[in-house]
Protein backbone atom coordinates (compact mmCIF):
# COMPACT_ATOMS: atom_id res chain seq x y z
CA UNK A 1 0.00 0.00 0.00
CA UNK A 2 1.42 3.34 -0.94
CA UNK A 3 1.76 6.20 1.52
CA UNK A 4 -0.36 8.47 -0.64
CA UNK A 5 -3.24 6.06 -0.44
CA UNK A 6 -3.14 6.21 3.32
CA UNK A 7 -3.27 9.96 3.65
CA UNK A 8 -6.90 10.90 3.93
CA UNK A 9 -7.92 14.24 2.56
CA UNK A 10 -8.77 16.79 5.24
CA UNK A 11 -12.45 16.90 6.19
CA UNK A 12 -14.59 19.79 5.18
CA UNK A 13 -15.15 21.28 8.62
CA UNK A 14 -14.57 24.98 9.21
CA UNK A 15 -14.12 25.32 5.50
CA UNK A 16 -14.32 28.52 3.54
CA UNK A 17 -13.24 29.19 0.00
CA UNK A 18 -10.56 31.53 1.21
CA UNK A 19 -9.33 29.42 4.09
CA UNK A 20 -9.93 25.71 3.42
CA UNK A 21 -9.41 23.32 6.34
CA UNK A 22 -5.67 23.05 6.77
CA UNK A 23 -3.87 19.75 6.40
CA UNK A 24 -1.65 19.17 9.45
CA UNK A 25 -0.24 15.78 8.56
CA UNK A 26 -1.32 12.46 10.01
CA UNK A 27 -0.94 13.21 13.71
CA UNK A 28 -3.59 15.95 13.98
CA UNK A 29 -6.78 16.47 12.02
CA UNK A 30 -9.51 19.06 11.99
CA UNK A 31 -12.72 17.02 12.10
CA UNK A 32 -15.38 19.42 13.34
CA UNK A 33 -16.25 22.94 14.31
CA UNK A 34 -13.21 24.66 15.71
CA UNK A 35 -13.24 27.70 17.97
CA UNK A 36 -10.05 29.73 18.11
CA UNK A 37 -8.08 29.32 21.32
CA UNK A 38 -8.61 32.16 23.74
CA UNK A 39 -5.14 33.16 24.83
CA UNK A 40 -6.46 34.19 28.24
CA UNK A 41 -7.64 30.64 28.89
CA UNK A 42 -4.24 29.04 28.34
CA UNK A 43 -2.41 27.66 31.41
CA UNK A 44 0.00 30.46 32.33
CA UNK A 45 -2.51 33.32 32.03
CA UNK A 46 -5.05 31.32 34.07
CA UNK A 47 -2.43 30.75 36.72
CA UNK A 48 -1.40 34.39 36.67
CA UNK A 49 -4.99 35.26 37.59
CA UNK A 50 -4.98 32.73 40.41
CA UNK A 51 -7.58 30.48 38.81
CA UNK A 52 -5.59 27.28 39.35
CA UNK A 53 -5.41 27.51 43.13
CA UNK A 54 -3.13 29.05 45.70
CA UNK A 55 -0.23 26.55 45.53
CA UNK A 56 0.22 27.09 41.80
CA UNK A 57 -0.31 30.84 42.07
CA UNK A 58 2.31 31.12 44.78
CA UNK A 59 4.68 28.81 42.95
CA UNK A 60 4.42 31.04 39.90
CA UNK A 61 4.61 34.42 41.58
CA UNK A 62 6.15 34.08 44.99
CA UNK A 63 8.89 31.47 44.89
CA UNK A 64 12.58 32.11 44.56
CA UNK A 65 14.64 29.16 43.47
CA UNK A 66 17.39 27.90 45.73
CA UNK A 67 19.57 27.33 42.70
CA UNK A 68 21.57 30.31 41.37
CA UNK A 69 21.46 29.10 37.77
CA UNK A 70 17.69 28.59 37.91
CA UNK A 71 17.36 32.12 39.27
CA UNK A 72 18.88 33.51 36.07
CA UNK A 73 17.41 31.10 33.55
CA UNK A 74 13.89 30.06 34.58
CA UNK A 75 10.86 32.30 34.27
CA UNK A 76 9.44 33.69 37.49
CA UNK A 77 11.71 32.08 40.06
CA UNK A 78 14.36 34.78 40.06
CA UNK A 79 15.41 36.83 43.03
CA UNK A 80 15.99 39.81 40.74
CA UNK A 81 13.97 40.07 37.54
CA UNK A 82 16.80 41.99 35.87
CA UNK A 83 18.87 38.80 35.84
CA UNK A 84 16.43 37.02 33.54
CA UNK A 85 17.40 37.74 29.94
CA UNK A 86 14.02 36.91 28.39
CA UNK A 87 12.39 39.61 30.51
CA UNK A 88 14.98 42.12 29.35
CA UNK A 89 14.57 41.14 25.71
CA UNK A 90 10.80 40.72 25.59
CA UNK A 91 9.92 43.82 27.57
CA UNK A 92 12.21 46.10 25.60
CA UNK A 93 10.88 48.89 23.42
CA UNK A 94 9.75 47.80 19.98
CA UNK A 95 11.75 48.97 16.97
CA UNK A 96 10.20 50.60 13.93
CA UNK A 97 9.72 48.99 10.54
CA UNK A 98 12.30 50.32 8.11
CA UNK A 99 10.46 52.60 5.65
CA UNK A 100 12.95 51.62 2.93
CA UNK A 101 11.61 48.19 2.12
CA UNK A 102 13.98 45.66 0.56
CA UNK A 103 12.17 44.45 -2.58
CA UNK A 104 11.61 40.69 -2.75
CA UNK A 105 11.40 39.40 -6.30
CA UNK A 106 12.00 35.77 -5.38
CA UNK A 107 10.06 34.59 -2.34
CA UNK A 108 11.83 31.23 -2.37
CA UNK A 109 15.21 32.97 -2.15
CA UNK A 110 13.93 35.09 0.74
CA UNK A 111 12.64 31.97 2.52
CA UNK A 112 16.07 30.37 2.16
CA UNK A 113 17.66 33.60 3.38
CA UNK A 114 15.49 33.87 6.49
CA UNK A 115 16.24 30.26 7.37
CA UNK A 116 19.97 30.84 6.84
CA UNK A 117 19.81 33.98 8.99
CA UNK A 118 18.02 32.22 11.84
CA UNK A 119 20.47 29.32 11.75
CA UNK A 120 23.35 31.78 11.64
CA UNK A 121 21.92 33.35 14.77
CA UNK A 122 21.97 29.94 16.45
CA UNK A 123 18.55 28.40 15.77
CA UNK A 124 18.47 24.63 15.44
CA UNK A 125 15.23 24.46 13.46
CA UNK A 126 13.58 27.04 11.21
CA UNK A 127 10.38 26.30 9.33
CA UNK A 128 7.68 28.42 7.69
CA UNK A 129 3.92 27.87 7.73
CA UNK A 130 1.25 29.47 5.61
CA UNK A 131 -0.98 31.50 7.93
CA UNK A 132 -4.42 30.15 8.66
CA UNK A 133 -7.00 31.63 11.04
CA UNK A 134 -7.21 28.31 12.92
CA UNK A 135 -3.63 28.69 14.13
CA UNK A 136 -4.28 32.10 15.68
CA UNK A 137 -5.57 33.10 19.08
CA UNK A 138 -9.16 34.32 19.21
CA UNK A 139 -9.82 37.97 18.45
CA UNK A 140 -9.93 40.28 21.41
CA UNK A 141 -7.91 37.97 23.63
CA UNK A 142 -4.75 40.00 23.33
CA UNK A 143 -1.24 38.89 22.56
CA UNK A 144 0.83 36.49 24.57
CA UNK A 145 4.58 36.43 24.99
CA UNK A 146 5.64 34.92 28.27
CA UNK A 147 7.40 37.47 30.46
CA UNK A 148 7.00 40.12 27.88
CA UNK A 149 4.67 42.31 25.93
CA UNK A 150 3.55 42.15 22.32
CA UNK A 151 1.35 45.13 21.66
CA UNK A 152 0.75 46.11 18.06
CA UNK A 153 -1.64 48.06 15.86
CA UNK A 154 -3.54 44.95 14.80
CA UNK A 155 -4.93 43.87 18.16
CA UNK A 156 -8.54 44.39 17.03
CA UNK A 157 -8.16 42.36 13.83
CA UNK A 158 -9.93 39.03 13.51
CA UNK A 159 -7.86 35.89 12.87
CA UNK A 160 -9.07 35.97 9.25
CA UNK A 161 -7.91 39.56 8.82
CA UNK A 162 -4.54 38.75 10.30
CA UNK A 163 -4.10 35.71 8.08
CA UNK A 164 -4.86 37.85 5.03
CA UNK A 165 -2.51 40.67 5.98
CA UNK A 166 0.32 38.51 7.30
CA UNK A 167 0.43 35.33 5.25
CA UNK A 168 3.43 33.61 6.88
CA UNK A 169 4.37 32.25 10.28
CA UNK A 170 8.01 31.52 11.05
CA UNK A 171 8.89 28.93 13.69
CA UNK A 172 12.51 29.34 14.72
CA UNK A 173 13.53 27.28 17.69
CA UNK A 174 16.30 25.67 19.69
CA UNK A 175 16.76 22.16 21.03
CA UNK A 176 18.00 21.41 24.51
CA UNK A 177 20.96 19.15 24.86
CA UNK A 178 20.66 15.42 25.14
CA UNK A 179 23.27 14.64 27.77
CA UNK A 180 21.89 16.94 30.45
CA UNK A 181 18.36 15.90 29.64
CA UNK A 182 19.24 12.46 30.99
CA UNK A 183 19.08 14.16 34.41
CA UNK A 184 15.49 15.32 33.91
CA UNK A 185 13.55 16.02 37.10
CA UNK A 186 16.79 17.56 38.33
CA UNK A 187 18.44 20.98 38.16
CA UNK A 188 20.79 19.64 35.48
CA UNK A 189 17.87 18.90 33.17
CA UNK A 190 16.42 22.30 34.03
CA UNK A 191 19.65 23.97 32.93
CA UNK A 192 19.49 22.30 29.53
CA UNK A 193 15.87 23.31 29.08
CA UNK A 194 16.01 26.87 30.35
CA UNK A 195 19.31 28.04 28.89
CA UNK A 196 18.32 26.88 25.40
CA UNK A 197 14.98 28.59 25.95
CA UNK A 198 16.42 32.01 26.76
CA UNK A 199 18.88 31.64 23.90
CA UNK A 200 15.96 30.85 21.58
CA UNK A 201 14.03 33.88 22.82
CA UNK A 202 16.97 36.12 22.02
CA UNK A 203 17.30 34.63 18.53
CA UNK A 204 13.61 35.23 17.87
CA UNK A 205 13.94 38.82 19.01
CA UNK A 206 16.94 39.33 16.73
CA UNK A 207 15.13 37.72 13.81
CA UNK A 208 12.08 39.89 14.48
CA UNK A 209 14.28 42.98 14.42
CA UNK A 210 15.97 41.88 11.21
CA UNK A 211 12.65 41.41 9.38
CA UNK A 212 11.66 44.92 10.45
CA UNK A 213 14.96 46.17 9.07
CA UNK A 214 14.07 44.49 5.76
CA UNK A 215 10.99 46.74 5.80
CA UNK A 216 8.26 44.26 6.75
CA UNK A 217 5.86 44.02 9.67
CA UNK A 218 6.23 41.46 12.43
CA UNK A 219 3.60 40.38 14.95
CA UNK A 220 4.34 38.36 18.08
CA UNK A 221 2.11 36.56 20.52
CA UNK A 222 -0.50 35.91 17.84
CA UNK A 223 -0.32 32.21 17.00
CA UNK A 224 -0.53 28.91 18.87
CA UNK A 225 3.04 27.58 18.74
CA UNK A 226 2.18 23.88 18.47
CA UNK A 227 -0.17 24.48 15.55
CA UNK A 228 2.50 26.44 13.72
CA UNK A 229 5.13 23.82 14.56
CA UNK A 230 3.04 21.06 13.01
CA UNK A 231 1.83 23.09 10.03
CA UNK A 232 5.35 24.20 9.18
CA UNK A 233 6.81 20.71 9.36
CA UNK A 234 8.88 21.04 12.51
CA UNK A 235 7.43 17.70 13.48
CA UNK A 236 4.34 15.68 14.33
CA UNK A 237 2.26 15.85 17.50
CA UNK A 238 2.98 12.96 19.82
CA UNK A 239 0.94 11.22 22.49
CA UNK A 240 2.80 13.36 25.02
CA UNK A 241 1.36 16.54 23.53
CA UNK A 242 4.76 17.62 22.27
CA UNK A 243 5.87 18.35 18.73
CA UNK A 244 8.34 15.61 17.86
CA UNK A 245 11.09 16.48 15.43
CA UNK A 246 12.95 14.01 13.23
CA UNK A 247 16.39 15.19 14.31
CA UNK A 248 15.90 16.13 17.97
CA UNK A 249 12.82 14.17 18.98
CA UNK A 250 10.73 15.89 21.64
CA UNK A 251 13.57 18.01 23.02
CA UNK A 252 12.63 21.14 21.07
CA UNK A 253 11.02 24.28 22.39
CA UNK A 254 7.85 25.57 20.80
CA UNK A 255 8.26 29.31 21.29
CA UNK A 256 6.08 32.13 20.11
CA UNK A 257 6.16 32.19 16.27
CA UNK A 258 6.81 35.27 14.15
CA UNK A 259 3.91 36.37 11.95
CA UNK A 260 4.89 38.52 9.02
CA UNK A 261 4.03 39.97 5.62
CA UNK A 262 7.53 39.28 4.31
CA UNK A 263 7.13 37.30 1.05
CA UNK A 264 8.17 33.71 1.76
CA UNK A 265 7.42 30.16 0.65
CA UNK A 266 5.76 27.91 3.22
CA UNK A 267 6.88 24.42 4.18
CA UNK A 268 4.55 21.45 4.52
CA UNK A 269 3.65 19.14 7.41
CA UNK A 270 5.86 16.07 7.66
CA UNK A 271 5.42 12.36 8.21
CA UNK A 272 8.19 10.95 10.37
CA UNK A 273 6.18 8.04 11.69
CA UNK A 274 5.11 9.59 15.00
CA UNK A 275 1.47 8.84 14.24
CA UNK A 276 2.25 5.13 13.97
CA UNK A 277 4.84 5.01 16.75
CA UNK A 278 2.64 6.64 19.39
CA UNK A 279 -0.14 4.09 18.79
CA UNK A 280 2.19 1.36 19.98
CA UNK A 281 4.86 2.87 22.22
CA UNK A 282 3.17 4.54 25.24
CA UNK A 283 6.50 5.02 27.06
CA UNK A 284 5.60 8.58 27.94
CA UNK A 285 2.21 7.54 29.34
CA UNK A 286 3.83 4.79 31.40
CA UNK A 287 6.46 7.02 32.92
CA UNK A 288 4.63 10.33 33.37
CA UNK A 289 4.86 11.07 37.12
CA UNK A 290 1.35 12.52 37.17
CA UNK A 291 -0.41 10.14 34.77
CA UNK A 292 -1.32 13.12 32.63
CA UNK A 293 -0.72 11.36 29.32
CA UNK A 294 -3.48 9.16 27.90
CA UNK A 295 -3.06 5.46 27.23
CA UNK A 296 -6.09 5.36 24.96
CA UNK A 297 -6.83 6.60 21.49
CA UNK A 298 -7.02 10.11 20.23
CA UNK A 299 -10.03 12.20 21.14
CA UNK A 300 -11.78 15.06 19.40
CA UNK A 301 -11.26 18.26 21.35
CA UNK A 302 -12.55 21.56 20.00
CA UNK A 303 -12.96 20.02 16.56
CA UNK A 304 -9.42 18.65 16.47
CA UNK A 305 -8.58 14.95 16.60
CA UNK A 306 -5.42 14.41 18.64
CA UNK A 307 -3.99 12.88 21.79
CA UNK A 308 -5.05 15.17 24.59
CA UNK A 309 -2.96 15.38 27.73
CA UNK A 310 -4.33 16.55 31.06
CA UNK A 311 -2.36 19.77 31.29
CA UNK A 312 -3.77 20.66 34.70
CA UNK A 313 -2.42 17.57 36.47
CA UNK A 314 0.89 18.03 34.68
CA UNK A 315 0.99 21.63 35.87
CA UNK A 316 -0.11 20.86 39.42
CA UNK A 317 2.98 18.86 40.27
CA UNK A 318 5.31 21.83 40.07
CA UNK A 319 4.81 23.51 43.44
CA UNK A 320 5.46 20.20 45.20
CA UNK A 321 8.85 19.62 43.59
CA UNK A 322 10.02 23.21 43.50
CA UNK A 323 12.93 22.49 45.84
CA UNK A 324 14.36 19.88 43.49
CA UNK A 325 13.61 20.99 39.93
CA UNK A 326 11.47 23.23 37.78
CA UNK A 327 10.64 21.35 34.59
CA UNK A 328 9.73 17.66 34.61
CA UNK A 329 10.66 16.77 31.00
CA UNK A 330 10.06 13.05 31.58
CA UNK A 331 7.81 12.66 28.55
CA UNK A 332 10.34 14.43 26.34
CA UNK A 333 13.24 12.37 27.64
CA UNK A 334 11.75 8.90 27.39
CA UNK A 335 10.37 9.44 23.89
CA UNK A 336 12.29 7.05 21.63
CA UNK A 337 12.69 9.85 19.08
CA UNK A 338 14.70 11.86 21.64
CA UNK A 339 18.18 10.62 20.94
CA UNK A 340 21.59 12.17 20.32
CA UNK A 341 22.84 13.06 16.88
CA UNK A 342 24.18 9.72 15.70
CA UNK A 343 24.11 7.63 12.56
CA UNK A 344 21.96 4.96 14.18
CA UNK A 345 19.32 7.52 15.12
CA UNK A 346 19.25 8.91 11.58
CA UNK A 347 19.07 5.37 10.20
CA UNK A 348 16.14 4.49 12.44
CA UNK A 349 14.08 7.61 11.64
CA UNK A 350 14.85 7.41 7.91
CA UNK A 351 13.91 3.73 7.77
CA UNK A 352 10.65 4.48 9.56
CA UNK A 353 9.91 7.41 7.25
CA UNK A 354 10.45 5.28 4.16
CA UNK A 355 8.65 2.20 5.45
CA UNK A 356 5.19 1.50 3.95
CA UNK A 357 2.41 2.15 6.45
CA UNK A 358 1.30 -1.45 6.57
CA UNK A 359 4.73 -2.63 7.71
CA UNK A 360 5.33 0.14 10.21
CA UNK A 361 3.82 -1.61 13.26
CA UNK A 362 6.32 -4.47 12.89
CA UNK A 363 9.23 -2.08 12.48
CA UNK A 364 8.06 0.07 15.41
CA UNK A 365 7.80 -2.90 17.77
CA UNK A 366 11.35 -3.82 16.82
CA UNK A 367 12.65 -0.26 17.29
CA UNK A 368 10.88 0.04 20.64
CA UNK A 369 12.41 -3.24 21.77
CA UNK A 370 15.84 -1.87 20.88
CA UNK A 371 15.08 1.34 22.74
CA UNK A 372 13.83 -0.44 25.86
CA UNK A 373 16.78 -2.82 25.83
CA UNK A 374 19.64 -0.42 25.24
CA UNK A 375 18.35 2.94 26.50
CA UNK A 376 15.87 1.66 29.06
CA UNK A 377 12.28 2.39 29.97
CA UNK A 378 13.27 5.39 32.03
CA UNK A 379 16.74 6.67 32.87
CA UNK A 380 17.97 6.71 36.44
CA UNK A 381 21.64 7.16 35.71
CA UNK A 382 23.83 9.54 37.66
CA UNK A 383 24.76 12.77 35.89
CA UNK A 384 27.41 15.21 37.14
CA UNK A 385 27.89 18.70 35.73
CA UNK A 386 29.78 21.65 37.17
CA UNK A 387 29.21 20.71 40.78
CA UNK A 388 25.66 19.45 40.24
CA UNK A 389 25.30 15.74 40.90
CA UNK A 390 22.12 13.74 40.54
CA UNK A 391 23.72 11.03 42.67
CA UNK A 392 23.09 13.17 45.74
CA UNK A 393 19.68 12.34 47.13
CA UNK A 394 17.07 15.12 47.08
CA UNK A 395 17.25 17.16 50.26
CA UNK A 396 20.80 16.08 51.09
CA UNK A 397 24.07 17.89 50.53
CA UNK A 398 27.44 16.61 49.44
CA UNK A 399 30.38 17.93 47.51
CA UNK A 400 31.29 15.25 44.98
CA UNK A 401 33.66 17.34 42.89
CA UNK A 402 36.92 15.50 42.53
CA UNK A 403 39.87 17.37 43.98
CA UNK A 404 37.83 19.96 45.88
CA UNK A 405 39.56 20.77 49.14
CA UNK A 406 37.20 23.54 50.24
CA UNK A 407 35.42 23.11 53.52
CA UNK A 408 31.69 22.90 52.96
CA UNK A 409 29.39 23.68 55.82
CA UNK A 410 26.43 21.92 54.27
CA UNK A 411 28.27 19.05 52.70
CA UNK A 412 27.98 16.26 54.80
CA UNK A 413 27.71 13.01 55.67
CA UNK A 414 26.20 11.58 52.59
CA UNK A 415 28.52 9.24 50.83
CA UNK A 416 27.73 9.12 47.15
CA UNK A 417 28.78 6.07 45.27
CA UNK A 418 27.73 4.12 42.26
CA UNK A 419 26.01 5.27 39.15
CA UNK A 420 22.49 5.78 40.43
CA UNK A 421 20.75 9.11 40.00
CA UNK A 422 17.92 10.26 42.26
CA UNK A 423 15.04 12.07 40.65
CA UNK A 424 12.13 13.21 42.77
CA UNK A 425 9.31 12.40 42.90
CA UNK A 426 9.06 8.69 42.41
CA UNK A 427 6.16 7.61 40.28
CA UNK A 428 4.47 5.67 43.06
CA UNK A 429 4.26 8.80 45.20
CA UNK A 430 2.34 10.90 42.73
CA UNK A 431 -0.94 9.10 42.36
CA UNK A 432 -2.52 11.73 44.55
CA UNK A 433 -2.60 14.01 41.54
CA UNK A 434 -4.55 11.70 39.27
CA UNK A 435 -5.19 7.99 39.14
CA UNK A 436 -3.89 6.08 36.20
CA UNK A 437 -6.51 5.10 33.69
CA UNK A 438 -7.76 1.55 34.19
Amino acid sequence: MSKAANIEPPPEANTSAEFPTPYLGRSVRFVGKFVNVDMKQSPHPKNQRGELGKPLFNWYHNTVSKDPLTRVSAPNHFADRRHFLSTVVNQAAKGKVNPQKVPVSDAAAMARHIKAVARYMGADIVQIAKSHPSYLYAAGGGRYVQDGTAKDDHAADTPEDLARKFPYLIMSTTAWDYDKLQAHRHLIGDAAYHISQIKGNMILKALEGYIKELGYTVLRGVAVPQAVGIASGVGELGRNGLVINKKFGARVHMPDPIMTDLPLVADEPVDIGVEDFCKICRKCANTCPTNSIPFGDKVVHNGVEKYKINWLTCYKLRPYVHDHWGSCLTCATVCPYTKPQAWWHNLATSTLHNCPFILRPILIRFLKWIDDTFWGVVRNGRVQWLGYDSGVKPGEHACTVAGCNASHEKAGATAVAGNVGYYAPLKENTNRFVKREP
Binding site: D106, A109, A116, Y120, G122, K199, A206, G209, Y210
Partner: protein, 209 residues
Protein backbone atom coordinates in the same frame (compact mmCIF):
# COMPACT_ATOMS: atom_id res chain seq x y z
CA UNK B 1 27.48 19.50 25.16
CA UNK B 2 27.85 23.26 25.00
CA UNK B 3 25.01 25.42 23.82
CA UNK B 4 25.30 25.71 20.08
CA UNK B 5 26.38 29.03 18.71
CA UNK B 6 26.53 29.70 15.00
CA UNK B 7 29.72 28.84 13.18
CA UNK B 8 31.26 31.57 11.11
CA UNK B 9 33.81 29.53 9.19
CA UNK B 10 34.95 30.23 5.65
CA UNK B 11 32.69 27.43 4.47
CA UNK B 12 29.83 29.37 6.01
CA UNK B 13 30.71 32.48 4.02
CA UNK B 14 30.99 30.46 0.84
CA UNK B 15 27.65 28.84 1.43
CA UNK B 16 25.97 32.26 1.35
CA UNK B 17 27.39 33.34 -2.01
CA UNK B 18 24.13 32.53 -3.77
CA UNK B 19 22.07 34.44 -1.23
CA UNK B 20 21.13 37.83 -2.76
CA UNK B 21 20.23 39.26 0.64
CA UNK B 22 23.25 38.12 2.61
CA UNK B 23 25.26 41.28 2.02
CA UNK B 24 22.37 43.36 3.42
CA UNK B 25 22.35 41.13 6.51
CA UNK B 26 26.05 41.50 7.11
CA UNK B 27 26.85 45.02 6.02
CA UNK B 28 23.78 47.29 6.15
CA UNK B 29 23.56 49.09 9.48
CA UNK B 30 20.14 49.01 11.13
CA UNK B 31 17.89 52.00 10.46
CA UNK B 32 16.52 51.68 14.00
CA UNK B 33 18.96 50.43 16.62
CA UNK B 34 16.01 49.34 18.75
CA UNK B 35 15.66 46.48 16.29
CA UNK B 36 18.97 45.05 17.47
CA UNK B 37 19.31 42.79 20.46
CA UNK B 38 22.78 44.12 21.15
CA UNK B 39 21.43 47.51 22.13
CA UNK B 40 18.74 46.01 24.33
CA UNK B 41 21.12 43.78 26.26
CA UNK B 42 23.87 46.39 26.53
CA UNK B 43 21.50 48.92 28.02
CA UNK B 44 19.98 46.50 30.50
CA UNK B 45 20.84 47.43 34.09
CA UNK B 46 22.65 44.87 36.22
CA UNK B 47 20.65 43.21 38.96
CA UNK B 48 21.34 42.98 42.65
CA UNK B 49 23.79 40.66 44.30
CA UNK B 50 22.05 37.77 46.01
CA UNK B 51 22.23 38.45 49.75
CA UNK B 52 23.45 34.98 50.72
CA UNK B 53 26.76 33.82 49.33
CA UNK B 54 26.72 30.37 47.77
CA UNK B 55 29.00 27.74 49.23
CA UNK B 56 31.94 27.59 46.87
CA UNK B 57 34.46 24.95 45.93
CA UNK B 58 38.17 25.65 45.86
CA UNK B 59 39.22 28.58 43.60
CA UNK B 60 40.62 26.21 40.96
CA UNK B 61 37.38 24.29 40.78
CA UNK B 62 35.24 27.42 40.91
CA UNK B 63 37.29 28.77 38.00
CA UNK B 64 36.71 25.56 36.04
CA UNK B 65 32.98 25.83 36.76
CA UNK B 66 32.90 29.44 35.58
CA UNK B 67 34.62 28.36 32.39
CA UNK B 68 32.31 25.38 31.98
CA UNK B 69 29.29 27.61 32.45
CA UNK B 70 30.62 30.16 29.93
CA UNK B 71 31.28 27.36 27.48
CA UNK B 72 27.75 26.11 27.95
CA UNK B 73 26.46 29.59 27.20
CA UNK B 74 28.42 29.51 23.94
CA UNK B 75 31.90 30.88 24.68
CA UNK B 76 34.56 29.19 22.57
CA UNK B 77 37.57 30.55 24.44
CA UNK B 78 37.56 31.50 28.12
CA UNK B 79 40.33 32.81 30.33
CA UNK B 80 40.65 34.41 33.73
CA UNK B 81 43.08 37.23 34.43
CA UNK B 82 44.20 38.51 37.80
CA UNK B 83 44.13 42.28 37.76
CA UNK B 84 46.69 42.91 40.46
CA UNK B 85 46.70 46.58 41.34
CA UNK B 86 45.07 47.74 38.14
CA UNK B 87 41.39 48.25 38.80
CA UNK B 88 38.82 47.82 36.01
CA UNK B 89 38.12 51.51 36.28
CA UNK B 90 41.75 52.32 35.69
CA UNK B 91 41.87 49.89 32.78
CA UNK B 92 38.81 51.44 31.22
CA UNK B 93 40.18 54.93 31.54
CA UNK B 94 43.53 53.81 30.16
CA UNK B 95 41.89 52.29 27.13
CA UNK B 96 39.99 55.53 26.49
CA UNK B 97 43.02 57.71 27.01
CA UNK B 98 41.85 58.83 30.40
CA UNK B 99 38.64 60.26 28.97
CA UNK B 100 35.14 59.21 29.88
CA UNK B 101 35.48 55.74 31.26
CA UNK B 102 32.59 53.75 32.65
CA UNK B 103 31.46 53.27 35.32
CA UNK B 104 31.94 56.61 36.94
CA UNK B 105 32.04 55.38 40.49
CA UNK B 106 34.17 53.07 42.54
CA UNK B 107 31.84 50.16 41.99
CA UNK B 108 34.28 48.50 39.61
CA UNK B 109 37.29 48.88 41.85
CA UNK B 110 38.65 46.14 44.03
CA UNK B 111 37.52 43.39 41.74
CA UNK B 112 40.56 41.15 41.46
CA UNK B 113 39.56 38.97 38.52
CA UNK B 114 38.44 39.48 34.96
CA UNK B 115 36.76 36.73 32.97
CA UNK B 116 37.41 37.04 29.24
CA UNK B 117 35.16 35.14 26.82
CA UNK B 118 35.68 35.00 23.09
CA UNK B 119 33.73 33.66 20.12
CA UNK B 120 34.70 32.96 16.54
CA UNK B 121 33.93 35.89 14.23
CA UNK B 122 34.30 35.38 10.52
CA UNK B 123 33.04 38.90 9.88
CA UNK B 124 34.78 41.61 11.85
CA UNK B 125 32.07 43.47 13.82
CA UNK B 126 34.09 46.69 13.47
CA UNK B 127 33.71 46.67 9.70
CA UNK B 128 30.41 44.78 9.37
CA UNK B 129 27.68 46.96 10.87
CA UNK B 130 24.72 44.85 9.73
CA UNK B 131 22.73 42.75 12.16
CA UNK B 132 24.56 39.68 10.82
CA UNK B 133 27.95 41.33 11.10
CA UNK B 134 27.18 42.10 14.73
CA UNK B 135 26.33 38.49 15.58
CA UNK B 136 29.59 37.88 17.46
CA UNK B 137 28.75 40.90 19.61
CA UNK B 138 25.26 39.54 20.24
CA UNK B 139 26.63 36.14 21.17
CA UNK B 140 29.21 37.73 23.45
CA UNK B 141 26.52 39.78 25.17
CA UNK B 142 24.42 36.68 25.74
CA UNK B 143 27.35 34.94 27.38
CA UNK B 144 28.39 37.83 29.57
CA UNK B 145 24.85 38.78 30.56
CA UNK B 146 23.93 35.32 31.81
CA UNK B 147 27.35 34.56 33.27
CA UNK B 148 27.57 37.82 35.22
CA UNK B 149 23.98 37.40 36.43
CA UNK B 150 24.85 33.90 37.61
CA UNK B 151 27.89 35.17 39.52
CA UNK B 152 25.77 37.83 41.21
CA UNK B 153 23.26 35.14 42.11
CA UNK B 154 26.14 33.24 43.72
CA UNK B 155 26.42 36.25 46.01
CA UNK B 156 29.47 37.94 44.48
CA UNK B 157 30.03 41.12 42.54
CA UNK B 158 30.19 40.89 38.76
CA UNK B 159 30.32 43.84 36.40
CA UNK B 160 30.38 43.70 32.62
CA UNK B 161 32.54 46.62 31.64
CA UNK B 162 32.38 48.18 28.20
CA UNK B 163 35.26 50.11 26.73
CA UNK B 164 37.98 48.15 28.44
CA UNK B 165 40.79 46.94 26.22
CA UNK B 166 39.19 43.57 25.67
CA UNK B 167 41.89 42.13 23.44
CA UNK B 168 44.73 43.03 25.81
CA UNK B 169 42.81 41.59 28.71
CA UNK B 170 42.11 38.41 26.76
CA UNK B 171 45.81 38.07 26.00
CA UNK B 172 46.55 38.52 29.69
CA UNK B 173 44.00 35.80 30.42
CA UNK B 174 45.90 33.44 28.17
CA UNK B 175 43.60 33.32 25.17
CA UNK B 176 46.31 34.28 22.70
CA UNK B 177 48.73 37.08 21.89
CA UNK B 178 48.43 40.58 20.47
CA UNK B 179 49.50 41.33 16.91
CA UNK B 180 51.00 44.57 15.64
CA UNK B 181 47.60 46.24 15.58
CA UNK B 182 46.90 45.25 19.16
CA UNK B 183 44.32 42.66 18.06
CA UNK B 184 44.07 39.29 19.71
CA UNK B 185 45.37 36.35 17.71
CA UNK B 186 44.47 32.90 18.95
CA UNK B 187 45.77 29.47 18.07
CA UNK B 188 42.28 28.23 17.27
CA UNK B 189 40.77 31.09 15.27
CA UNK B 190 43.68 33.34 14.35
CA UNK B 191 42.55 36.96 14.26
CA UNK B 192 38.95 35.99 13.43
CA UNK B 193 37.88 36.19 17.00
CA UNK B 194 35.72 38.56 18.99
CA UNK B 195 36.39 39.16 22.67
CA UNK B 196 33.22 39.95 24.60
CA UNK B 197 33.12 42.71 27.18
CA UNK B 198 34.95 41.29 30.17
CA UNK B 199 33.33 40.45 33.48
CA UNK B 200 35.05 41.85 36.56
CA UNK B 201 34.35 39.96 39.72
CA UNK B 202 35.39 39.27 43.28
CA UNK B 203 34.40 35.63 43.00
CA UNK B 204 37.41 33.69 44.31
CA UNK B 205 39.00 32.21 41.21
CA UNK B 206 42.32 30.84 40.01
CA UNK B 207 43.79 32.97 37.23
CA UNK B 208 45.20 31.77 33.90
CA UNK B 209 47.89 33.33 31.87
Amino acid sequence: MALKLPRFGLAGQDSHRDDPYWDFFIHTPPADLTNTVTKLVRNAPAGNIFPTKAELHSPEITASHVKGMAQYFGAELIGIARLDDRSPLALAEESKGGAEGEPKNDEANNLPFAVACAVHADYDPRTSPGIGGQMPVQNGLFITFVLSAWIRELGFRAIVLRDADNDALAAKAGLGHLNGQGRLVTAKFGAKVYVADPIYTDLPLAADG
